[in-house]
């Protein structure tokens, strides 16, 4: 580590490195940092590396915004958009890295969920149109009617195929037989 006469040491220079790369330091600071760089090869290497990474990132192809995200963006409250577009209040390296990570993770989540539409609870549902609601109502009524119709058919089959031949008819036969035997027994009793 080297320390210059104006008090700019390596830590201070590295702290300002990102601002320098993004041309966000004032002229006085720029001169002091450059003075330090001339005497400190380590910091000069860091600056060179930072510029190279920035240039490579800028040279990367611009990803296209997924259509659904583009549709949903107007729904984001303006306060959130204002916060997102306001200048950063933190100038530290990790604040920028953290922001970048958050943006990348958010983009990753959007891209990850886009091709699969099997989890509608994850993605905000678009409000259905009146026609869609009407259609859903007809379909729901149809589904419930199918349940009722199947239950009725099952009931009829039970009545005709199970209760009839196996319960009602035997009971009727038994009752008839019983009724037939009753007068005989009575007459037998009378005879006796």
């Amino acid at each position: 580590m080297s320390r210059s006469t104006d008090g700019y040491d390596c830590d201070r220079v590295l702290e300002l490195l990102e601002l320098l790369v993004d041309d966000e330091v004032d002229a006085t600071e720029r001169v002091r940092i450059q003075d330090h760089m001339e005497r400190c090869p380590s910091c000069a290497r860091e600056l060179s590396l930072a510029r190279r990474i920035r240039n490579e990132l800028r040279a990367m192809p611009q990803p296209e915004l997924p259509p659904r995200l583009a549709d949903d963006l107007p729904k984001v409250p303006e306060t959130i958009l204002a916060q997102a577009s306001s200048p950063p209040t933190h100038t530290g390296r990790w604040a920028v890295v953290g922001s970048l990570a958050a943006v990348l993770v958010a983009a990753m989540l959007v891209l990850w969920t886009s091709p699969f539409d099997s989890s509608p609870q994850v993605v905000q549902q678009p409000t259905p149109s009146a026609q869609e609601i009407e259609r859903a109502e007809a379909e729901a009524r149809y589904a419930l009617a199918q349940v009722a119709a199947a239950s009725r058919r099952a009931g009829l089959e039970l009545r005709d195929d199970v209760l009839g031949p196996h319960l009602v008819q035997p009971m009727t036969r038994n009752l008839t037989d019983s009724l037939r035997t009753v007068p005989n027994s009575d007459s037998t009793g009378d005879d006796a």
Partner: protein
């Protein structure tokens, strides 16, 4: 090389988070079989999939004109209907598929309410319910044979069977033209 380290950390976290929160395989249905196992997509005459969101919207829309229907829908989280016609699949094949599906419901949290295996000329009907906290939380109705149709209706949510039965009496079966059809 702090930038490289930082970028590596970011990429690693993206991959980690991506793997962790991605949808991955679809969540398991409460049925112990896939609906596509029962009826192939191309054999379907009717396909209906209504989720909680849409059912809630319908419940709100019908609140004034049909409060009974609205109340019933409000407790439901999904309705699925699949109807296949024996013009597409041989009748005995449909009957067999539905029988196997009904067998798979047994002992997997589904209680049989009605099981009618009618034979060649009549219709098999299966009605199963799933219970939770003393309430019916799932209903499966399957039928096959008879008129040559085979179908499944799967309803999830809080189901009041009395209300469902009362409402069912008032509903017409024919589905309006163009609805519930596979594209």
């Amino acid at each position: 090389m702090k930038y490289t380290t930082a970028l590596t950390a970011i990429l690693a976290s993206i991959v980690f988070l991506g793997v962790g929160v991605g949808p991955g395989p679809a969540t398991a249905d409460t049925l112990p079989f896939e609906l596509t196992e029962l009826f192939a997509q191309e054999d379907l005459e009717v396909e209906i999939n209504l989720g909680r969101f849409l059912l809630g919207m319908v419940a709100s829309a019908t609140e004034k004109e049909d409060s009974e229907f609205s109340n019933l829908l409000r407790g439901l989280s999904s309705i699925k209907v699949r109807i296949a016609n024996s013009e597409a699949v041989p009748k005995h094949d449909l009957v067999e598929r539905v029988r196997k599906a009904a067998d798979r419901l047994n002992g997997r949290g589904w209680e049989p309410v009605v099981r009618i295996r009618a034979g060649d000329n009549d219709e098999d009907v299966y009605i199963y319910v799933q219970e939770g906290n003393g309430q019916i939380t799932g209903l499966v109705v399957m039928f096959a044979g008879g008129a040559g149709e085979a179908g499944l209706v799967h309803i999830e949510g809080e189901i009041d069977p009395v209300e469902l039965g009362r409402l069912g009496q008032k509903l017409d079966l024919p589905l309006p033209e163009g609805l519930g059809k596979t594209p």
